[in-house]
Amino acid sequence: MPSRVFEETVLPHLDAAFNYARWLTRNGADAEDVVQDACVRAVRFFSSLRDGDPRAWLFAIVRNTWYSRVTRRAGAETQPLDIATDDPADGALDPEARLLQQRDVARVRKALEQLPADFREVLVLREIEGMSYKEIAAIVRVPIGTVMSRLARARDRLSAVLKPPSVPMERLS
C-alpha cells in the first residue's frame, strides 16, 4: 500500500487533529508535539483503521498520545486531568440575548480553557467537530451515557463561567 493512501486518508484531518490537540493541551507547542507523535503512531497502526472513520480514528490516537504524555508528567505541573465533581452552580441560565452580547471569542476561549479537560474535550468534539455521542464515546473511551451527562454538565459549567458575576439588584441601589 503506497504512503499516498495514508496521506489521502489521514492527512486531510490534520487541522482537526491539531485543533483537538490544541484544546487538550491548551498550548500550541505541546499540541504540535502531540500531533506529530500521533501521526507516527497512525502510520504504524494504519492497518487498524480498516473501514472505520479516519477522523475519529486519528482523534483516538491523538487523545491516547496526549493522555500518555500527561500521565507521564503527572504531578510535574497542574493537573490537566482534573475531573469536575461539583454540580452546576445553579439552574438559572443566561437569557440568549445576554449570551449573544458576550460574543467575544477571547472570552469564550478562556472560559473553555478553564474547564476541566474531560469537560473541555466533549464540548470541542461535539460543538466544534460535530461528532455524535457514539463517536465521542469511542474516542474518550467512556460509555455513551457518560458522554451525555458529561456534556450536559460541561455546558452548565460553561454557562456559569460565561455569566457575568451576578450582583443582586438591591445591592446596586
Partner: protein, 240 residues
C-alpha cells in the same frame, strides 16, 4: 412529563441523540412549557457561542514535518516486508502455518525495534521506575491481561531499571527495561500460544534483537548493546 425529566434529556434532545419516542415526548412538553423552551434556547445560544470560536489550524511547518515523517516511516515498511521475504526464502519452505508465523514475527520484530527507538527518543522509558522486581511486577497488574515474568538480573550485570506499557503489533505488551553501563535493553513480553523455542537472532537497523518463546510468553530483547553481550543477557534472562 415533568420539567426535571426534560431538563435531564434536553442536551441529548438538542444534539439529536434521543430515541424517536423520547424526542416526541420532549417536543410535546416544549410546546406547552415556556421555561423549558427558554432553557433550550439558552442551550442553543451557548452552542452557537462555542461554534463562533474559530478552530485552531495546524501550522504549515507542522504539516510539512508530518508529511515528511510519514513518508520516512512508511518507506521503512516495504523494506521490512522484503526482509521477511528473505527470511522466508532461506528458511525451509514450510507449511502455511510456518509462513504465517514468520510474517507475523517479521512485523513484531520491526515493531519492537520501533518501540525501542521510540522509548529512547521520546525519553519514555518508564511508566514505573524501580530496580525492585517486586515493585515492577505488581505494577502491571490490572494494566495487562497477563502477568509478565519480572526478574532483576543485577547479579549478572544487567540491573532492572523499570517497566512500561507498550503496544506491539497491535497488542498490549509489557516492556521491561534493563541497563548495561550506558546501554538500554528493552524486553517486550506478551502471551504467545506457540511452543517454546530457542533464541533467534536478528539485526534490524543497527539494533540487535533476540527472540524466544517460553512458558507461553513471547520475549523480544532489543538493544544497541553488542552482539555478544546481548546474547549473554538473553542467556541470563532465559536461565532464570
Amino acid at each position: 412529563m415533568i420539567c426535571d425529566q426534560v431538563e435531564r434529556d434536553l442536551d441529548a434532545y438538542m444534539d439529536g441523540e434521543l430515541a424517536a419516542d423520547s424526542t416526541a415526548a420532549i417536543r410535546d412538553h416544549l410546546d406547552a412549557c415556556a421555561p423549558c423552551r427558554q432553557r433550550l434556547a439558552d442551550r442553543e445560544a451557548l452552542g452557537r457561542l462555542i461554534r463562533s470560536v474559530p478552530p485552531y489550524e495546524a501550522p504549515a511547518h507542522l504539516r510539512a514535518r508530518v508529511a515528511g515523517q510519514t513518508r520516512r516511516t512508511w518507506s521503512a515498511r516495504p523494506l521490512l516486508a522484503w526482509a521477511a521475504a528473505a527470511v522466508l526464502a532461506v528458511s525451509v519452505a514450510g507449511a502455511l502455518t510456518f509462513v504465517r508465523s514468520t510474517t507475523m514475527r517479521g512485523d513484531a520484530a520491526d515493531d519492537v525495534v520501533n518501540g525501542h527507538v521510540r522509548s529512547l527518543m521520546a525519553e519514555h522509558l518508564f511508566d514505573v521506575r524501580s530496580t525492585d522486581q517486586h515493585t515492577v511486577k505488581p505494577w502491571f497488574l490490572g494494566k495487562l491481561d497477563f502477568s509478565p515474568p519480572v526478574v532483576d538480573l543485577a547479579a549478572a550485570g544487567f540491573p532492572l531499571v523499570g517497566g512500561r506499557l507498550e503496544y506491539i503489533a497491535g497488542r498490549p505488551a509489557a516492556a521491561l527495561v534493563y541497563q548495561r553501563q550506558k546501554h538500554t535493553i528493552n524486553v517486550f513480553v506478551w502471551p504467545e500460544s506457540g511452543a517454546s523455542s530457542g533464541v533467534t537472532e536478528r539485526a534490524i537497523r543497527g539494533f540487535h534483537v533476540r527472540h524466544w518463546v517460553r512458558a507461553g510468553m513471547s520475549f523480544w530483547a532489543v538493544s544497541d548493546l553488542n552482539d555478544a553481550e546481548l546474547t549473554e543477557f538473553a542467556r541470563a534472562l532465559r536461565g532464570t
